[in-house]
Every structure is written in structure tokens, then in C-alpha cells.
């Protein structure tokens, strides 16, 4: 910048064109540029001052040539300013303008570069400043750390000093302690010595005292007993003899022995208990270990060695178990050894399990990652859906229930209820059918019984008729003089049969079988003839008190049961009722038959 200004005076100071020209010719291009730019600006005629003017009316042509030269040197040789008229003051405008334009362009470019350079310089200066600041800071830091270091050194030194003093203190203290200990020891020894001396003196005094007492024959020393007591154990006191001494010894040893025996017994018991526990433990260990180990062995190949070992151990264990009861030392050793081995095995096994567990855990964790998220999600979605469905289902059910509770019986529910009722009725009917069937079965059975009884009765009737025939014969024969005696015997013989005669009649009436009725008829025919001559059977029975009187006979035509039961009315009523029901049953059974058909 400064240069720019300085050129101006140079240029202006040049009084002489020639000299300036030469000097300008040697100028650097930048200077020329500046020079040119300086003149390119105030080119308007109105603005330039005469004093500082480069070109005047007089020197146009040298100016032009100079400028051309300059332009040439600038590399703008193509442009050549010419005077419009040789020797005239005017310029041809086009080349001059072109040259000016070119110059202006160059100037602008230069200005731009200048600006950039200025900026760069600014930047550089700022960075420089920054650097300087940094530098100073670092210098400060360095100084500080150096100072710190020295401080630390100082403290270290001080501490070392302290340690030294403390060590010396400790040493002195130790010495002190040693000294004190020595003092204590010496005092203790002195004390013990003195104590011993005093004790000796005391014992001497005691000796002397007792001697004196003995010498003085202390009269006061006495026992005054009214009469001597017997020993508490009732024995008499005895002299001290060697035998007594021996017996005392013996007793002492006896008591000692018994004590030892007792303690030994208790120890034995304890030992046995412990052994039992050990054995139990061992057994359990073997039990626990054997199956799993085998499986684990299968799993891991490198366990074969161990397998061999464990087999050996088991053998040892077995043998120890055998010999354990002998409780010799050998066995004990074996037992403890085997227990120890088993325990080791168990521990190994546990460790293995632990590691396996951790592995499994890891696997599980990895598996979790392996399971694709989509399937998981799908599953979840499905489950959610299901849950939703279930919820809906429950909800509808609840709603229905609510409806049923809330609303009065509308048609639908009425129909539903009806359905319910019919169902119920059906159930009831079924139940009744079952009952009827049962009753029917009963009835059939009864009928069967009845028919059987009828058959039996028929047979009996036949027999009765025969009897009667014989009896009639006897009646006829009664006309003979030995009547009375014979009749007696015969009535006796028929009494048993007579009981059954009544039902017989009834059966005939109820069954109303033509064959039987006919027999009845045949049977009845002889009756009137008999009644005329001899008392009727009924009469006879009545006299013999074998059948009830007329009232019962009146009942007789009602049915077989009432007659057979010779007991009271209640029973009879019950029976009759049952019979009535039987009749009903038959009706029902018919219905059932119909049902079964349909």
C-alpha cells in the first residue's frame, strides 16, 4: 500500500518525461500496474488537475507511445492506442477504450487477489495470536507442574523424615518395653522370691506355733461328748492296716474303672451312631451317584478312566461294608476312604451338574434368541385372539343370563321353559315306566306263583277227592257197628288236608278254568247227598275248629290271599289293596306295551 503512495511522488516529481520513462521501463509489472491503475481512474478530462497531469496538450504523442509501450509490456500488445490524427491532440477512441477496459479488468482482478491476501493475512495473524496464547498457557502449566513437583518432593522428604523419627521413636519404645518387661520380670522374680521367703517364714512361724501349742499342752483343746455315737453306716471303726490301704486302693481303682467303662460305653454308643450315619451317607451317596454317573459317562467320553476308578471304589466300598461290622481298624480305614472317595465323586458330580446347569442356562438364553420373533408374535397373537374369544363367549353368556333374569317371560323363553317342562315330564314318565316295568315283573312273578299254586292245588284237590271218596266210603261203611272208632281215626288223618281245601275252592272260582269248574261241579254234586245224611265238610271242620266261622267264609270269595291269611283284618286289607294295584299295573303295562310298540 505504501508503495502505491510512494510511486505517486516519484511519478509526479519527474519533471522530465524521458527520465520517468526510463525509470518506468525498469519498473516491476506490479508497480506499473499500480501506476497504470492510478492513471486509469482520473482519466476524465474534467477531473484531472493540470499540475499532476501525466498528459498535457504538448506531450500527447509521447504519452501515447509510452502507454503503448506500457501496454506492450503488460502483454496487451494487440491493443494499440493511436492518435486520431498524427500530431493532433485527439485519440482514436476504440483502441483506447479497449485498453482501458483491459486495464480495468486487470485492476479488478488485482483488487480481488489483494483482498484475498489481506484476508489470509488476517487469518494468519489471528492464528498466530492463538498460538502465542496457547504457548504462554502451556508455559504457565509447565511452571505450575514444576512447582507442584517440587512441593511433592518437599512433602515426601518431610514424610521420610517423619518416618525416620517415628522409627526411632518405635525403637525407643521397643527399648522401653523391653526395659519394662525386664523390670517386670525382675520385679516378679523378686516378688516371688520375697513371697517365697515370707511363705517360708510364715510356715516356720506356723511350725513354731504348733510346736509351742503342743509343748504348752493346751488344756483347752478338748472334745466333750455326752456319749459316743455309732458310725453312720453302723460299722465299727477299724485300725489302719495294710489291708485297709489295699482295699482303699482297690476301691479307688474300681470306681475309676467303672467311670472309664461308663465313658467308654457312651463313646462306643456314639461311635456306633456315627458309623451308622456314615454308612447311611455312603449308601445314599452310592445310590445317588451310580445311575446318574453312568448316564453322564455315556455323555462324556473322557470319563472312562473315572469309571474304572469308581468301579474300584465301589468294590472297596462293598468290601468295607462287609467288614464294617467287625469294626477293626482296617475296615474303618476302608470305610473312611470309600466315604472320602464317594464324597469326591459327589463333589465332582455336583460341579459337573453346576457347569451343565450353567450351560443349559446359556443354551436356553441362546435358544430364546433363536426362536424367531415372528412365530413368537404369531403365537402371542393367536393366544390373544383365543383369550378374546373366550372373553366374548363369557360375555354373551353373562348377557343371556342377565336377560333371563331381567326380562319377564317372553314367548321365546316360554317356549324354552315349555321345552324344559316337557323334558322334565319325559323324565318323570321314564321314571314311572321304570317303576311300572318293575311292578309288572313282580306281577308276572306273582302270576307264575299263582299258577304254580293252582297246579299244586289241582293236584291236591285230586288227592282230596280221592280222600273224600275214601272218606265217603268210610261213611258208608260207618253203617257197620264199628263206626265210631273208625271215624275217629279217619278224621284225624284228614285234618291236615282240610286246611288246604279252602283255597282249592277259591282257585277254582278265580281262575274259572272250565276244566276245574267241571271238577268242582263233579265234586259238588255229591254234597247235598252228604248233607242230608252226614254233617257237611264245613260243619265238620267247624266242629273241629279248623276253619273260621261264617264271617270269614263270607270273605272267602274275595280272594285267595285273604283266606290263606288266617290273621287279622289289617293284613287282609293290605293284601287286597295290593291285589287292586296289581289290576292297575296290568293296565299300565298295557300302555307300556303300546309305547314299546310305537
Amino acid at each position: 500500500m505504501g508503495e502505491w503512495w510512494t510511486t505517486v511522488p516519484i511519478g509526479t516529481s519527474m519533471g522530465n518525461y524521458e527520465a520517468s520513462r526510463i525509470s518506468h521501463a525498469t519498473m516491476s509489472p506490479s508497480r506499473q500496474n499500480n501506476y497504470v491503475s492510478m492513471y486509469s481512474l482520473p482519466l476524465s478530462k474534467s477531473s484531472y488537475s493540470v499540475i499532476s497531469a501525466f498528459c498535457t496538450e504538448d506531450n500527447i504523442s509521447p504519452c501515447i507511445s509510452y502507454i503503448n509501450q506500457e501496454l506492450d509490456s503488460l502483454g496487451l500488445s494487440s491493443i494499440c492506442i493511436e492518435a486520431s490524427s498524427p500530431g493532433g491532440a485527439g485519440l482514436s477512441a476504440v483502441p483506447a477504450l479497449n485498453a482501458m477496459y483491459e486495464l480495468l479488468q486487470i485492476h479488478r482482478r488485482n483488487m480481488c487477489t489483494l483482498e484475498e491476501l489481506e484476508k489470509e493475512q488476517l487469518k494468519k495473524t489471528s492464528s498466530l495470536e492463538h498460538m502465542q496464547m496457547n504457548n504462554s498457557r502451556l508455559k504457565d502449566q509447565l511452571e505450575l507442574s514444576i512447582r507442584e513437583k517440587s512441593g511433592l518432593h518437599e512433602t515426601e522428604r518431610q514424610l521420610q523424615l517423619k518416618i525416620k523419627t517415628l522409627q526411632s521413636c518405635l525403637k525407643t519404645e521397643k527399648d522401653e518395653v523391653q526395659k519394662l518387661q525386664n523390670i517386670i520380670a525382675s520385679r516378679a522374680s523378686q516378688y516371688s522370691h520375697d513371697a517365697k521367703r515370707k511363705e517360708r517364714e510364715a510356715s516356720k512361724l506356723k511350725e513354731r506355733l504348733s510346736q509351742l501349742l503342743v509343748d504348752r499342752k493346751d488344756k483347752k483343746l478338748a472334745i466333750d461328748v455326752l456319749n459316743c455315737l455309732g458310725r453312720s453306716d453302723g460299722r465299727r471303726s477299724h485300725w489302719k492296716t495294710a489291708k485297709a490301704t489295699a482295699s482303699h486302693e482297690g476301691e479307688m481303682y474300681k470306681s475309676l474303672l467303672s467311670d472309664y467303662e461308663a465313658s467308654q460305653r457312651s463313646l462306643m454308643l456314639e461311635n456306633a451312631e456315627l458309623k451308622k450315619v456314615l454308612q447311611q451317607m455312603k449308601k445314599e451317596m452310592i445310590h445317588i451317584l451310580s445311575p446318574r454317573q453312568s448316564s453322564s459317562r455315556r455323555a462324556t467320553a473322557d470319563d472312562t478312566q473315572e469309571q474304572v476308578d469308581s468301579d474300584g471304589e465301589e468294590k472297596a466300598g462293598d468290601s468295607s461294608r462287609e467288614t464294617l461290622d467287625q469294626s477293626c481298624e482296617h475296615a474303618r480305614e476302608q470305610l473312611t476312604n470309600s466315604i472320602r472317595q464317594q464324597w469326591r465323586k459327589l463333589r465332582n458330580h455336583m460341579e459337573k451338574l453346576d457347569s451343565q446347569a450353567s450351560q443349559v442356562q446359556n443354551q436356553l438364553e441362546s435358544n430364546k434368541e433363536v426362536i424367531p420373533r415372528e412365530t413368537h408374535d404369531e403365537e402371542m397373537e393367536r393366544m390373544r385372539h383365543e383369550v378374546q374369544q373366550c372373553k366374548e363367549f363369557i360375555h354373551t353368556q353373562q348377557q343371556l343370563l342377565q336377560q333371563q333374569l331381567n326380562t319377564s317371560f317372553d314367548d321365546e323363553t316360554a317356549a324354552l321353559l315349555n321345552d324344559c317342562y316337557t323334558l322334565e315330564e319325559k323324565e318323570r314318565l321314564k321314571e314311572e315306566w321304570r317303576l311300572f316295568e318293575e311292578q309288572k315283573r313282580n306281577f308276572e312273578r306273582e302270576r307264575k306263583n299263582f299258577t304254580e299254586a293252582a297246579i299244586r292245588l289241582g293236584r291236591e284237590k285230586k288227592a282230596f277227592q280221592e280222600d273224600r271218596a275214601t272218606w265217603l266210603k268210610n261213611q258208608f261203611l260207618n253203617m257197620t257197628p264199628f263206626t265210631d272208632r273208625r271215624r275217629c281215626s279217619s278224621s284225624d288223618g284228614h285234618s291236615a288236608l282240610s286246611i288246604r281245601s279252602e283255597p282249592e275252592m277259591r282257585i277254582s272260582s278265580t281262575n274259572t278254568q272250565p276244566a276245574k269248574s267241571s271238577t268242582y261241579a263233579t265234586f259238588s254234586t255229591p254234597k247235598p247227598t252228604q248233607s242230608a245224611t252226614v254233617p257237611s265238610t264245613t260243619e265238620l271242620y267247624r266242629t273241629l275248629r279248623l276253619i273260621p266261622d261264617s264271617s270269614s267264609s263270607r270273605h272267602s270269595n274275595r280272594g285267595f290271599w285273604q283266606e290263606s291269611s288266617t290273621t287279622e283284618d289289617g293284613d287282609a286289607r293290605f293284601k287286597s289293596k295290593s291285589r287292586v294295584r296289581c289290576g292297575d299295573l296290568s293296565i299300565f303295562s298295557l300302555g307300556e306295551d303300546e309305547n314299546s310298540l310305537t
Binding site: E199, R200, L213, D218, K220, L221, L226, G230, E251
Partner: protein
């Protein structure tokens, strides 16, 4: 509970006969024998001077009354009231007097421990045992009464002599490895003799009956050592209380330490129950302070107390002993096993108001009884695991695994329980005051009764 009326006694001399039938008390120079159940006076004997010691013979037939100042011992027979016996130790003086286990010999220790004189009531014979050692417990009879162990000192060395009580035959005589023998005690089965050194050295030696050294135990060196030693009734444990406020328990097989019970000032053990006695003074209104009420007796001023269960941690009051004085009040000085050997009660001297009960099965602290004042005396029920203790006030305290009660002694004029003695049946208790005594009979099992209640219930007066 039933409280009898109050009787006079002096010098805390009151003993129940070994068979439990009679109660002998001394009042000045008179000896009164009462029936235990009715407390009726059965016999009354008059001695020559104020009685300073009284003891029953093992067969409950004779009573020994010693008058130490006069050097006299008088023996009375319960069966023959006119029978009398007087033993005069003469100018040599009398320090202590005791029965031999057979009840037919009296062992008098003369002054300065010059000798022990053995007087036979059967033959009037007298024999001397020289050189008895003056120590904490220098003489002990085995439980079965067969043997007597005696600590002796000759030529500045400790010896133990074992005598057969039957005829005072010297069975064994051996030197012990002690600096200064402090005491000896037979195991209850009579086969092991525990011998311990004086407090200057922690050393416990175990000798067999025949004088063989079975084992030696020493917990530490230099500082003050053994304070007390007690066998469990089963002979299974040997508990050693020492100045370091610990109790060490040795087993009877290896004679090694099984466990040690510490007595910390702060109880953090959550398994132990800490019973704390809480006193409550009844509020006395101004109108109550009329002359009438005061004349009624001091019961008005008696405080009521009850037990509270404190949750851990519990801080226990500790008195720091004066280091300049001899026999510092620190360490475990009292040990007592329950009759079934299940529990051990201990008292640490610098925590005088606290009794510790340890479970010997689990080897753990079972209960801690913190009293308001220093515990004077505690004793186990001879039949049940039940501990009775007194603190010199008008209350009796009982502990059992079921709980803890305090019982007020309902007497006029304030009965201060200084000491107590169980009857051998465990059904009654003799409470000794300063000048009085009374019998306390259980009409129902108090503690079993309280076991149904919350364990810290206070039962006052006539329960």
C-alpha cells in the same frame, strides 16, 4: 404362692436339713429347729455364744454350731435333745468348721490355716492334717462322700492330698503344676479333680482320682485369670469364669474348650430374650400422706416392678472397675448350672444387675435378666430349670424358660431379700432378709402358671 409369717434370724444362718424335713435357724446364741411344713418349733438349743456358723450333718440328725470368736463348736442332736457335744479348739483359734460327709466327724480349720483338726464323734479321736493351703476353695468332698481333696502348701509348692473319708487314710498325695493354687473341685461323678491357679495366672488342671494329670487348660497369659470354676451336674461340662468377662466351657472327653460365652455390654443377639425390670412408683397423692397411711407400713413406698422384653440391641449398664484397686470388680464370678445341666446362669461383676442364662444344648444365650439393682444371689430350683434371684429389695424374681416374674413379698415393714435357699423338693423357698426369714410355698406352679400368660407379666403379692 403362700408366704409364711416372718421369723427372726441372725447372721443369715438358716438351713433346711438335707432330708428336707426341718429348718434350722440361729437367733443370736439360740438354735431353733422347726418343722419345715408347719414351721412349728420342734427343738430349741442354747449355745454358749453368738453362733457364727451352723450346718446340718448329712443324715439330718445333728447340727453343728460354730462360734469362731470363742474357738468353740457345739453339736446338737435332733433325736436326743439332751445329748450334747462341745469341741474347744483352744488358744489356736478357729477359722472354719464343717461336717465330714459321714456326719460323724468335724473338720475344724484353725487360724492361720495352721492345721485341720478332725474330730471324731464316734471315738472322740482327734487327728491333724498339717499344711492346709489358705485359698479360695482348698477343701472339697466328692459327691458320694468317699473322698476329700485338700490343697496343701509345703516348701512353696502346691500339693493335693486325697483322703478316704471313711478312715482318713491318705490315698494320694501329689504336687500340682500351679504357681499358686486357687481352688479345687471334684467332678460330680467323683473321678476328676479340677484344680485352678490363683487369679494371677489362667491355668486349669484336671487330675484323675489317682493323681494323674489328665489335661491342662490355659486360655491366655499375663492378665488376671480364673475367677470361678463350676462343674455341670452331669460332669459333662466344666465352666470357667474369668476376669476377661468370659465363660469358657470345657468338655469331659478331650478337656478342650467347646465354646465361650461372652458378656458384651451391648446385646445384639436376636435369639436371646432380654427381660428388663421396670420399676414403677405408685403415685402418692397429698391426702394419702396422712399419718395413718404412713403408720400402716412401708409397703406404701414399695415400688412395683415388672419385666419388659427389650428388642435388641440392648445396652447394659457397665461399671468400670478401678484399676488401682486389688480384686477388681470385673469378670465372671458366679456360675450356676441348672439341675438338669440344661442351663447355665452367670453374673459378670461389672454388670452387677444382670444375670445371663445360657442354653447348654445350643450353646447360646437364652435370656438376660436386667434388674434395677445389683443381683445379690441367684439359685436354681433343685428339681426344675427355674432360677430364683434377689436383689436386696422386697421382691423375689423367678425365671424359667417359659418366662420371668417378679413377686412382691407382702410383709409389713419391708422385707429385704438378701439371700434365698430352695427346699430340696423345689416346692418352697426360704427367703432371708437382714434379720428375718420367711418361707415361701408354692400352692401352684407359679412359673408354669405364668407360662400361659405373656412371659413378662408382673405378679404381685399373693398369687
Amino acid at each position: 404362692m403362700n408366704f409364711s409369717e416372718v421369723f427372726k434370724q441372725s447372721n443369715q444362718l438358716c438351713k433346711v436339713s438335707p432330708d428336707g424335713k426341718y429348718l434350722a435357724t440361729c437367733v443370736q446364741y439360740r438354735l431353733v429347729v422347726r418343722d419345715m411344713s408347719t414351721l412349728q418349733i420342734l427343738q430349741l438349743y442354747t449355745c454358749l455364744d453368738q453362733i457364727s456358723h451352723m450346718d446340718w450333718s448329712s443324715d439330718s440328725l445333728f447340727i453343728l454350731c460354730a462360734m469362731y470368736k470363742r474357738g468353740l463348736v457345739q453339736v446338737w442332736s435332733l433325736e436326743q435333745p439332751d445329748w450334747h457335744c462341745k469341741i474347744d479348739e483352744g488358744s489356736i483359734g478357729l477359722l472354719s468348721s464343717r461336717w465330714s460327709p459321714d456326719g460323724r466327724h468335724i473338720l475344724n480349720t484353725t487360724e492361720f490355716h495352721l492345721r485341720i483338726t478332725v474330730w471324731s464323734l464316734c471315738t472322740k479321736a482327734v487327728s491333724y492334717i498339717k499344711y492346709p493351703k489358705a485359698c479360695q476353695k482348698g477343701i472339697d468332698f466328692s459327691r458320694d462322700g468317699c473322698y476329700m481333696a485338700l490343697a496343701e502348701r509345703r516348701d512353696c509348692k502346691d500339693y493335693v492330698s486325697v483322703f478316704v473319708c471313711d478312715d482318713w487314710h491318705l490315698l494320694r498325695h501329689f504336687e500340682t503344676e500351679t504357681q499358686d493354687l486357687g481352688g479345687l473341685e471334684w467332678s460330680p461323678n467323683g473321678c476328676v479333680l479340677a484344680v485352678w491357679d490363683s487369679c494371677l495366672e489362667y491355668k486349669v488342671l484336671l487330675y484323675s482320682l489317682d493323681g494323674r494329670l489328665l489335661s491342662t487348660y490355659s486360655a491366655y497369659e499375663w492378665s488376671l485369670g480364673v475367677k470361678t470354676v463350676t462343674w455341670s451336674p452331669s460332669s459333662q461340662f466344666l465352666a470357667i469364669g474369668s476376669y476377661d468377662e468370659k465363660v469358657r466351657v470345657l468338655n469331659h472327653i478331650t478337656w478342650k474348650k467347646i465354646t465361650q460365652f461372652e458378656h458384651p455390654a451391648t446385646i445384639n443377639n436376636t435369639k436371646a430374650v432380654v427381660y428388663k425390670e421396670v420399676e414403677r412408683r405408685p403415685a402418692v397423692g397429698a391426702d394419702d400422706l396422712s399419718l395413718h397411711n404412713i403408720t400402716i407400713g412401708t409397703t406404701l413406698f414399695n415400688t412395683q416392678s415388672k419385666y419388659e422384653i427389650c428388642p435388641p440391641p440392648v445396652q447394659i449398664p457397665v461399671v468400670k472397675p478401678d484399676p488401682d484397686r486389688a480384686n477388681p470388680k470385673i469378670g465372671v464370678s458366679t456360675l450356676a448350672f441348672s439341675s438338669d445341666s440344661r442351663y447355665l446362669a452367670t453374673k459378670n461383676d461389672n454388670m452387677a444387675s444382670v444375670v445371663w442364662v445360657w442354653d447348654m444344648q445350643n450353646m447360646s444365650l437364652e435370656a438376660v435378666l436386667e434388674q434395677c439393682s445389683a443381683v445379690r444371689c441367684f439359685q436354681w430350683d433343685p428339681r426344675r430349670p427355674r432360677l430364683a434371684l434377689c436383689t436386696g429389695n422386697s421382691k423375689l424374681y423367678l425365671w424359667s424358660p417359659a418366662g420371668c416374674v417378679s413377686v412382691e413379698v407382702p410383709t409389713e415393714g419391708g422385707f429385704q431379700v438378701q439371700s434365698l435357699n430352695w427346699h430340696c423338693s423345689g416346692d418352697s423357698l426360704i427367703l432371708l432378709g437382714k434379720e428375718q426369714l420367711l418361707k415361701l410355698t408354692e400352692t401352684q406352679r407359679t412359673l408354669e402358671y405364668t407360662s400361659g400368660l405373656p412371659s413378662h407379666t408382673h405378679l404381685a403379692g399373693n398369687v
